[in-house]
Symmetry: C3
Subunit: 430 residues, 3 copies
Amino acid sequence: MEEVVKDAGIEMYEFVKRLFPIHRSITGNGVRETLKIIQEYIPITIHEVPSGTVVFDWKIPREWNIKDAYILDSKGKRIADFKKNNLHVIGYAAPINKTVSLEELQEHLYSLPEQPDAIPYVISFYKERWGFCIEHNERLKLKEKEYKVVIDSEFKDGSLTYGELIIPGESEKEIFISTYVCHPSMANNELSGPAVATFLAKSILARKQRRYTYRIIFITETIGSITYLSQHLKEMQKNVIAGFNLSCVGDDGPYSYIPTRYGDTYTDKVLLNILSSMHPDFMKYSFLDRGSDERQYNAPGVELPVCCVCRSKFGEFPQYHTSLDNLDFVSPQGLAGAYNMLEACLKLIEANRKYKITCLCEPHLGKRGLYPTINSGVDVYKESRKLTNFITYADGKNDLIDISNKIKVPVSELYSMVDKLSAAGLLSVV
Amino acid sequence: MEEVVKDAGIEMYEFVKRLFPIHRSITGNGVRETLKIIQEYIPITIHEVPSGTVVFDWKIPREWNIKDAYILDSKGKRIADFKKNNLHVIGYAAPINKTVSLEELQEHLYSLPEQPDAIPYVISFYKERWGFCIEHNERLKLKEKEYKVVIDSEFKDGSLTYGELIIPGESEKEIFISTYVCHPSMANNELSGPAVATFLAKSILARKQRRYTYRIIFITETIGSITYLSQHLKEMQKNVIAGFNLSCVGDDGPYSYIPTRYGDTYTDKVLLNILSSMHPDFMKYSFLDRGSDERQYNAPGVELPVCCVCRSKFGEFPQYHTSLDNLDFVSPQGLAGAYNMLEACLKLIEANRKYKITCLCEPHLGKRGLYPTINSGVDVYKESRKLTNFITYADGKNDLIDISNKIKVPVSELYSMVDKLSAAGLLSVV
Amino acid sequence: MEEVVKDAGIEMYEFVKRLFPIHRSITGNGVRETLKIIQEYIPITIHEVPSGTVVFDWKIPREWNIKDAYILDSKGKRIADFKKNNLHVIGYAAPINKTVSLEELQEHLYSLPEQPDAIPYVISFYKERWGFCIEHNERLKLKEKEYKVVIDSEFKDGSLTYGELIIPGESEKEIFISTYVCHPSMANNELSGPAVATFLAKSILARKQRRYTYRIIFITETIGSITYLSQHLKEMQKNVIAGFNLSCVGDDGPYSYIPTRYGDTYTDKVLLNILSSMHPDFMKYSFLDRGSDERQYNAPGVELPVCCVCRSKFGEFPQYHTSLDNLDFVSPQGLAGAYNMLEACLKLIEANRKYKITCLCEPHLGKRGLYPTINSGVDVYKESRKLTNFITYADGKNDLIDISNKIKVPVSELYSMVDKLSAAGLLSVV
C-alpha cells in the first residue's frame, strides 16, 4: 500500500509537470488541451457550453484565446514575455498593439513590491481591459519614455469547456469530487487538485466493488461550477451524500479544510474524523474563510454537502497567485499525502454503517479467543479494551465514525474489529 | 444623529433634575405629581387602582402621604429634616408625635457606618412602623437624653397610581418598556429609567412608520407591576415579543443586563447582539442577580420576554439606595448612552426579518458594481467579503441577528446591505 | 444523624472483618457462606442456578471448590500456603498433586516485581489451569531444583449462587442496587460493596414509607449479573428508574463514579448533583473506564440506568487486586462516607418531584413571615434570595435537581423550602 501511494505521488507529480506549461483560463483551448491529456488517464467526457448561455444569475462569457503578448523596448527586447511565462499577461486581456507612454503603461502593470521577483497572477473578471504582470524588480528597470505593447488575444462566441466522469456503484447515492482546470502555469493552485482527483478516479475505477456512485468534475472555478450546477442541481441534491472540492493539495504544508456552511454535514463528519486521527495538526477553517467552488456548492438553495480540502489553504501561503507557485512548491510526497488522506475518507464512506451487537450483555469473547483467559496483572482489562469499547457502542445508533469518536480509536482500526465480530456472528448491520 | 442624541442627553438630564425634589413612594401624591409632569412630554394615561384591590397574591395597600418629619432636640434644632431631604424618613412611616428617650430613638434610626455622610434609603414593606434615616456622623452627635420625634404622615383608603402609554403600530405585536416612579429623591435609581423611557417614547411617537405597537408603563416597583399584570396579562402574553425593564440607566458605568429566566427569549437575543457590538465590555448578569420588576415579568406562569437593562446594576454601586445617588451621579452622557443603545435595540427589532437570496449560487455582483472586476492582490476576496458573507447566510433560516452573529458584522452595517441587495432584486423577505 | 452514620461505619467495618477470611470465588461454598451471614442482617433470598444453564451468550460454569493448596520444598516447608492466605492459589485452579521442576513451576507462578511483598489476585477465566500467586520476594528465594505442588480443588456440576432482596414500595418503579460477593480475602474489592449495600438495605427496611420499590442483589461479577439479567431483564427495563453498582466503597479516597454509557440517565443526574454538593472534589470517570457490572447493565439492548459508584476506583489504587487490599485499607469512616452519600441519593430520589408555584407573580412572602418587612441595608435582597430563587424556578418544568443546579443550592436545603411553601399553600406537585 505504501509503495503504491509513493508511486502514485511520483505519477501525480509527473502529471503536474506535464500540464504545467499549458496556458489555461476560464475558457479556451488551454482548458481543452488539459482535459484531453486527463483523458489519457481516465475516461472523462468533455462538454462544451456555448457563450451566452444563461446559468442562474450569470451568462457564459465569450471565449478568450491568446497567441502572444509582450512589452517591447526601443532595442527590441521583449519584457513580460507571455511565451516565457504565461502569467505575464492578465487573464481575459483585451487585444492591443500600440505604443504607449511609460506613464500609461504603468497604469496597466501589476507587480508585488514585497515579492519583487515574483510575477503576480491577475485576472480581469468579465471586463475587457489590457494589462501585464511583471516582477517588481523588472518594473523598476523601465526607464524609456515609450514602449510598444502587444497582446495578440481574441474574444469570440465559443464555449465553456468542462470534463466529467461518472463511475457507477451499487447505489445511486453519490460521492462528489470537484476541482478546477482554469489556472495558467501554477502548480499547487491549481494542478494539484486535478492530479489528485485524476488518481483518485483511477483508484476508484480499479476497485472490484463500489457501494456508491462517483461524480468527478474538472471545471472552471466559479462560472464552471455555476454552469455545472445549473445543469445537474436536482439530481445532485437527490443523490450526493458527500463531496470534496480539491484545491491546493500538493505542497508539504499541514492539512486543512473548510467546513460546509453550517459545518454539520456527513462530509464534515468524515473529514473531521479522518484528519483528527491521520493528521492531528490539521487546520479547520471557518466557512467565512471560503474562496473556491465550495462557495457555489454551499450557496443558499444549492446546499450540497461539499467541503473544500487543502493542504496549505489558498491565500495563506506567500507563493499563492504568483509565479512562485511552481513545480518546486509541490512535491510527490505532498500530492501523495493528500491522495492518501482522501482515499481514507472514501474508504470510510464506503465502509461506514451502523452496527448492532447480536447478543444481550457482553458477548463471551474468551471462548472465541478474543479475550485473555487470565487476569494476571492490572492491565488485563486494558488489553481487549478497544474491542469491548467498540462492542459497547455498537448499539445500532452509532456509525463507525461515532464509535471512533467515542472510543478514541481511528476508524482504520475498526475495520478489522467489524470483520472479526461479523465472522463470529456477533454483529448485524442496522 | 449624534447631535440629536447629545441633545437628548441634556434634555433627559433636565427631566431628572426637575423630578428629583419630589417625594415619591409606593402610593400617594408624589407619584401623581411625577406622572403629571411626564404628561407634559408624552401623552400617558394616568390610572388609579383602589386600596384593598386584590392583585394575584397581593392587596393594594392603603395610600400613604406625608407632610413633614423631623427629630427635635432641646434647643429646637431640627435633625433628620424631611423638608431638607426626603430620604430622612423611612418609606411608609407611621405618624408619630412624642418625646422619646435617646435609647428608644436609636432603635428607630438607620445609618451606614461605612458611608458616614450618606443617608440610607429605607422602606417599610406593608408594616406600620416609624423611623428616621440619618447620616452616621450626625447620629454620633446625638447626646441628649430625650428627643421629640414628629412624623406628620397619614394612611387612608386611596389608590395606587400608574402611567401608561400605548403607541399603535402596524402589528398588534408589542414591544414593552417598563420603569418605575416610586423612589424618593434618588437620581439613578430611579429617575434615569423614567427619563430614558420618556425620551424613547418621544422618539417612537415621532416615527413615520411603526411595525410594532409599543406599551410603555411608569409604575411602582413590585406592587405596581403585579397590579398591572393582574389587569393586562392575557393580552401581553399574546402580544409582547420583547420587553425591557429600565433601572439605573443614567450613570457612566458599563452597560449591563439581566437575562430572562431561561435566557432564551428574543429580547435576550437582541440585547446580546447589540451590546456585543456597541459595548463589548458589557456585563451579562444571571437571572439569579435579578431585583427589579423583571422578577414579576419572568415569574412562573407570567413568562414575558423581559430583560432588565442597567448601566451600573442596582446593588453594585456604592451610591445605591443612599443620598449619594444624586444629580452628580447621573450625567447627560450616561443617559444618552443608554438611550442610544435602546434605540439601537428598537431599530433592530423593527428592521429584523429573515431574508432569502433570490437566485441559486452566488449572484453575479460584478455586473451590478458590487464586486471588484479584477483580482489584483491577495486581498481581493476580503474586500467584498462582508457582502458575500451576508448573502451566504441569507438562506431564509437566519434573521439579521443570526447573520450578524455568524458573520461577525454589527447589524448596523447590515441595514445598507439589505437595501442594496433588495434594490438589485436579489433579496426576498421570508 | 451523624452519630447513627458513625455507628453504621463501625458496624459495616465489623461486617467486613467477619466476612474477610472466607474464600469466595465465582461459584462454590464461599459464596453460600457469605450470603448466609448476610441473611443475619437482612432477609435476602438465596438462589442457585445449575451449572450448564445458558445465560445469553454465556453458560454457567461447573462449580469450583478448594480445600487446600501449597508448594512444598524438600524440607517439608509450605510455600504459598492457601490456608494462610487464600490469594495464594489462582481462582478456578485445576487440581494437581505432583513434583515439578523449578523451571516448570516458574511458568505457573504469578508475582509483582514492583510490589514484592504483595500477593497478586489472579483468576483463570473458564479455562482449567493450575497456578500459584506469591510475594515476589518469596519467589526470589526459590532455589531448589524441584518442588511438590498440591492443589486440592474440585470441579463438579453444581450451581451459581446469588442473593436477592426486594423491598416493596408504593410504586412498582424500582431503585436498583448491585454489588458482588465473588472475591476472596480482599477488603475494599470487594467486601466494602456488600457491607454498604447491606446497611443501606437495613435503613430502607426501617423506613415507615417508601415511594419506590428496592431491588438489591449480591452476585458474582460478570457471570452473575449476566445470569441475573437473563432472568429479570424485562421487568427491570420496565421498572428500574435508577441503579447503583457498588464497588470499592470502603477506603478513605475521594468519591468517584462511572457514568452510564451516554451519561444521560436519571442516575447520572442524581449522582452528579449529590456529589457536586457533598464532595466537590469527586472524580467523574468516563464509561470507557468501566470495569465492573456496569458493563452488563449498560450493554446494548440491556440499557439500564446504572452507574458504578466507588471511592478510589478499582484499578486506580496500588493495593487493587493484591493482598494489600486488606482490613487496614478500608475504614469505618470510609464505609460510612459512601453509605452517607448513597443515602443522600436515595433520599433525593424518594423526595424528588416537579413543583409549581400556585400563584401568578411572586407570592407575598412578607405577610407569611417568609420575607423581611424592611429593606434596611443593601443586603436585604440577598437574605431571602434562596427561597425566591427556588420559587422562580418552581414552574412545573424543573425537578428538585434542576432547581438545585440552577440556583446553586444543595438539594438538602430545598427539602425544608418545599415543606414551608407547601404548608403555605404556595406549591403544587406537577
